[in-house]
Symmetry: C2
Subunit: 386 residues, 2 copies
């Protein structure tokens, strides 16, 4: 009889809680999205708000990404310092942030900014005039009613373009939309239709601007669900998506990934039990998982996360059902399975928890523990704040 040696866990020396990246799986997610964008004939501009990590973003640009999308000017500053020049700041700019944006542009960053209203457009043109600085600006289009943006048919769209270009230093570079309401869907046909709505309405806004005499070269659309569902992208020049790099339980419920595709998880250690309730207490609470309960209203509610063994294999029916700041309560969906949690999950055992929302969970950690295909774990710093 041959006895197989049990490989020691690559995480045995890692303090918990920790945010673990399976780099092999993440690379597969990156390749899947980039190949799709290449096949659809559009540039791909990943949204780096998910990882806020130079090591992750370098893998995205090496795979073929054309520039990046950021959600804060701090991200722009950090990634520009790391050598990435082509950056879209995809949140409508507050007038007081124009000086910070201008400093990046003056330093050589090809930063594009966003507006969706007349007051902001006027502020951009006035700042360009007063400070003699050139801005490339996109107008945000509302294609699904979920947040900000101007409607494609709104008369105001043309007014905003005129207000922006009132100063010749401002270039209307294009239009941009994010169909974030796609997160609420979970049907492949509905997702395809939603991606087509996002595309068609954003292209329509660009057409109106062109008919009014504006160049409006770029048409930028995207969200992870629509990017993975679009059948054609006629008239679109670039697509953005963020969470696909890690995926998460919300995306699994939407139907654009499987649990096995989720590349980021929280490593935790069992610290106790409540035997009669079938509870396992772990040292990752909501401070580690975040308070995101994105699966709460979806078809399958995962509580604060799906429990996996230390190797990353999901343990069917085992969830982090609730959480305090530094305590997670792990239990079975089926209370009948509750017996003998102490034997099954002894104190000191490591587990991994798949998160509801990777962007929110990752943000709780100063660094990732990146597990390479060679079994070696490397610490990758990430940043936060504004």
């Amino acid at each position: 009889m041959k006895i197989e040696a049990i490989a020691p866990s690559p995480f045995a020396q890692i303090n918990t809680p920790a945010a673990v990246i399976d780099v092999t799986q993440m690379a597969a997610n990156i390749d899947r999205m980039q190949a799709r964008m290449n096949a659809l004939g559009v540039r791909f501009r990943p949204h780096v708000k998910t990882s806020k990590c130079v090591d992750v973003v370098r893998l995205q640009t090496r795979a073929g990404a054309s520039g990046i999308t950021v959600s804060t000017l701090k991200e722009a500053e950090q990634f520009f310092a790391a050598g990435i020049v082509d950056i879209l700041y995809a949140v409508g700019i507050a007038p007081h942030k124009l000086a910070q944006a201008a400093a990046l542009i003056a330093a050589g960053c090809r930063l594009r900014i966003l507006v969706d209203n007349l007051a902001a457009a006027q502020a951009v043109a006035a700042y360009a005039n007063t400070h003699d600085i050139a801005f490339d600006v996109l107008i945000e289009i509302d294609t699904d009613g979920h947040r900000s943006g101007v409607k494609p048919e709104a008369p105001e769209l043309i007014d905003i373009a005129r207000a922006l270009t009132a100063d010749s230093r401002v270039t209307l570079a294009g239009v941009m939309t994010h169909a974030g309401a796609s997160y609420a869907l979970h049907d492949a046909v509905a997702l395809q239709q939603f991606a087509e709505q996002e595309r068609a309405l954003c292209v329509r806004a660009a057409t109106r601007l062109r008919e009014a005499g504006f160049a409006c070269l770029d048409v930028s659309v995207g969200s992870t669900p629509t990017a993975l569902s679009a059948q054609t992208l006629d008239g679109v020049t670039e697509v953005r998506a963020g969470v696909y790099v890690f995926f998460d339980l919300v995306m699994a419920n939407v139907g654009v990934c499987s649990l096995g595709d989720i590349a980021m998880s929280v490593l935790t250690t069992v610290i106790g039990h409540q035997r009669e309730k079938g509870w396992v207490i772990v040292d990752a609470g909501w401070m580690a998982m975040s308070r995101d309960r994105g699966t709460q209203m979806q078809q399958l509610d995962y509580g604060y996360g799906q429990v996996c063994d230390a190797a990353g294999q999901p343990i069917a029916g085992c969830l982090m059902a609730s959480a305090n700041q530094e305590h997670g309560i792990v239990e079975w969906r089926d209370a009948n399975a509750a017996q003998s949690v102490e034997a099954r999950f002894p104190v000191g055992m490591q587990l991994r928890i798949l998160p509801n929302h990777a962007c929110a969970t990752a943000a709780q950690f100063p660094a990732y523990e990146a597990l390479g295909g060679d079994g070696i774990v490397t610490t990758w710093p990430r940043f936060y704040g504004w």
Copy 2:
């Protein structure tokens, strides 16, 4: 007619989003709790997981606090480095963290650790023996069934004490409980009864241990709601509470503070509108507020927060109703009030948002902007991670 000069906002130069502390109000919160503990005749050990900020904690210790409570060993390390020696790590210790705890103790920190099960107790005794290091240990008692801890009447309680003291380097320093289920209450009488339950059951556990021959000097109880509701604390030696330092909307719903007592808020800037929906879009989303929706199940749901003007005065009926990563959607509870949001909240206007849960919101920020009674704003760093 006399024209009053409008004072410029102290936050005019602060980038948004920012976590603002009203230091005058915070000092009042600190004094209120410390005076109560003095009157009840117990030591007070504030839980610093709320602020993770040396500047805040120095005000708590100057007001009379006896040591601190921490939720992570990183907090212990950071506050020990800042000169605070008496520290209780109030999460059941994972065996792999004993080396980190031992290093603090060897450096002179009077660190106390916590266990609630036999396996952890055995690990502590074994580590003390192997590494010739002395540990002061408390046993966690479950007085409300909400999380971890051993029941006061459980036979295991005595077994844990025996296992701990199997090595003479380990001192059973006392018992500790946290009646976190108090957060679900909102009635003064029920809170008083709950505080009494917390006290009585924790004292009962200490009595059992003493009857079994263990010294068990300390009886440590607390949560913000019970600390502010207890009528007597006979047999208790110290009380712990954390969120009282800032307070928040959850605590206002519990009934232990008013909106005016809330000393921490998120400063944000209006970046746009959806006129026909009555939405105001601001540059604080869930990344700033956290995903905590603690008021969702309470009597008054504040969405992601109560909107105030830049001076901190609540605007009645105005909430952050929903949030994306870097966008907040502010609207009125009463949709009829929705008209003219652009005039009422113009682009560039600063607002302040009171948070659901101060511990969660504060954790999203690398620093606080602390507004002193002199109107001067000082940046106070805070830390995160493990």
